[in-house]
């Protein structure tokens, strides 16, 4: 038990720091107007500089899968899975670069603080807003639940304490600091969590290479276990080329459809911050993904007989590092989990209070609600949503676990076309957006459930093609309705 207490102390220090940041951020939000408070709580008054922007994009994007799941698969499939993971390197510059300054300018002009705000301003359509808000709430709740479960299981494996203890410890702290501090607390803790993640992966990788007797020795051990482990297509062609190439859509272009990542592109201070973040973000995310997945691969050379890939990362942390260091570095994956959950939590809360309540009950006029009430309501809604997910994670309901399987691709199917095509196609309109959302989600669910033979191609590829076509056809059919409304906003 002494060892597990030593492991837990650095984690508690780290969680306490996060809450400290939230309290500090709360001080910053002493704004006088309701719109001012909304801008602060949900987008941090658009004040992010380059480094924080880079870190928050990385941290909100990388999640449990980047630290546990991904390296776990790399453990089984070798270097081929590292090659696949490296497709994610352009995430930061792709989201920032492609949405770019047009998106930032639009967001400011329309006072948008969430993706839904932006879509409302762009399409001026209740159908688009409601579909997107509902999709966001459902998929995010399921994704947050999965993150919580992953984190709590990891905690259980490493410390030996029961599942519920770990869940309470980091579940309650993430809900607390997000509810209290809002966006500013989320991005500042993201920056801290990003640094912890980078340090954690380097130390684990070095420990593994050291234990395996150097890089060349690790590679030849892997080749001895199965030559497929060092090829780009994996053992017995387990990772065929068509499958790997589909990930250029799923975790490449498709990332432009993840609302918690793209929302960051509304919140930077100026052009300079965006330029810096594109470079810093790419360097750090590449480094982190490479180290984490390579550690998983080489883990096979050190611990060849683990029953499940998901155990690779926790086992390496436990066996190769001293208890205190294990505590510091287990914070890496926990940080990745928390930084994803906090971003999602805030957006669910924004969807409920801003996109639905203020818009439909207060007719879009936030100033009808006193600032103090708005402040209290925002904090409480964030807290209640978080606690709901927390309670669900104690006894995970099958339905949510099932929905989570579709969360990532589903979000992309919903948001990709309305955001990106909406930004660059002048003639896109509400009918196109609704058509692409409905066709995209239906196609994605159908393909994922029925699993027709597609030669290894992931369901997201046909889904994306279908939703793009639906957007174009829908916009074409709906163009007269659009022309009748004589308020072209863009």
């Amino acid at each position: 038990m002494a060892a597990s207490i030593q492991t837990i102390i650095p984690m508690i220090v780290y969680l306490a720091l996060s809450i400290g940041i939230a309290l500090w951020a709360r001080q910053q939000s002493a704004k006088t107007t309701s719109q001012g408070f909304i801008e602060e709580y949900f987008i941090g008054s658009r004040s992010m500089g380059g480094f924080v922007l880079a870190m928050t994009i990385i941290a909100s994007y990388t999640s449990a899968s980047s630290f546990i799941g991904g390296p776990g698969v790399a453990y089984r499939f070798g270097l081929s899975w590292v090659l696949l993971a490296m497709i994610q390197v352009p995430t930061a510059f792709l989201t920032l670069g492609v949405l770019g300054k047009r998106f930032a300018i639009m967001a400011r002009r329309t006072q948008s603080v969430t993706i839904t705000d932006y879509l409302r301003a762009r399409y001026d359509s209740d159908a688009v807003v409601i579909l997107c808000s509902v999709a966001l709430i459902v998929f995010f709740m399921a994704a947050m639940l999965a993150q919580f479960i992953g984190g709590a299981r990891l905690f259980q494996t490493v410390t030996g304490y029961p599942y519920a203890v770990g869940l309470s410890l980091f579940g309650i702290s993430v809900v607390l600091y997000t509810a209290v501090g809002g966006f500013r607390a989320v991005v500042l803790t993201d920056a801290m969590q990003g640094i912890v993640m980078v340090v954690a992966v380097v130390v684990v990788l070095l420990a593994v290479i050291n234990a395996g007797g150097g890089v060349a020795q690790c590679v030849s051990t892997l080749k001895g276990i199965d030559p497929g482990l060092i090829t780009p297509t994996g053992p017995d062609n387990a990772v065929p080329q068509a499958f790997t190439l589909s990930f250029w859509v799923l975790v490449g272009i498709g990332v432009l459809g993840l609302p918690h990542t793209t929302q960051r592109c509304m919140g930077y201070r100026d052009s300079r911050a965006m330029h810096d973040a594109m470079v810093i973000g790419t360097l750090l995310i590449g480094f982190m993904i490479l180290c984490a997945h390579l550690a998983g691969t080489f883990g096979r050379a050190v611990f060849p007989d683990l029953p499940a890939g998901d155990l690779a990362m926790p086992t390496m942390i436990l066996k190769l590092l001293s208890p205190v260091w294990a505590g510091v570095f287990i914070a890496g994956p926990l940080a990745a989990i928390m930084s994803t959950v906090d971003s999602m939590l805030l957006l669910v809360s924004a969807a409920i209070i801003k996109d639905l309540y203020i818009h439909y009950r207060l007719k879009g006029d936030a100033s009808r609600m006193p600032v103090a009430t708005l402040k209290r309501t925002s904090t409480w809604i964030t807290a209640v949503v978080g606690l709901l997910v927390f309670v669900a994670a104690l006894e995970p309901p099958d339905l949510l676990v099932w929905i989570n399987l579709f969360a990532f691709g589903g979000l992309e199917a919903v948001f990709l076309c309305p955001i990106v095509l909406g930004l660059y196609c002048q003639s896109g309109n509400a009918r196109g957006a609704v058509a692409s959302i409905i066709c995209g989600v239906t196609a994605f669910m159908a393909l994922s459930i029925l699993k027709p033979a597609m030669g290894g191609v992931h369901a997201i590829v046909p889904t994306t093609l279908i939703s793009i076509s639906a957007y174009i056809i829908g916009s074409y059919l709906g163009r007269h309705a659009h022309e009748l409304r004589n308020s072209p906003k863009f």
């Binding site: 300054k101 300018i105 594109m278």
Partner: protein, 95 residues
């Protein structure tokens, strides 16, 4: 909406896509171009199979340097705030 800001932003988006394409080509050609053979014929660089070294270890610092150059050379600092005509309602809140 000032026209030159939109033009510049469109140009920057296209450049970002071009860099993305360059990364894809580098990743694909070095990964599958070198690596899709019998593992017994592999050559090694710093202990890694050469396909892996070029595509994964060299690839991302390379793209970071290209990105840095591109941002330096082609990206411009343009104001992002709403243009003067529309700011009256936001003044004093967005600081």
């Amino acid at each position: 909406m000032c026209d030159h800001r939109i033009k510049q932003a469109n140009k920057e988006s296209l450049i970002s896509l071009a860099v993305y394409a360059v990364y894809f080509l580098w990743w694909y050609l070095s990964g599958y171009g070198i690596g899709d053979t019998d593992p017994d014929t592999y050559s090694y660089i710093f202990g890694f199979p050469s396909w892996f070294f070029y595509s994964c270890i060299l690839g991302y610092p390379l793209i970071t340097v290209i990105l840095w150059l591109v941002v330096r050379l082609f990206f411009k600092e343009i104001p992002l705030d709403a243009d003067v005509r529309n700011t009256s309602s936001m003044k004093g809140e967005d600081n």
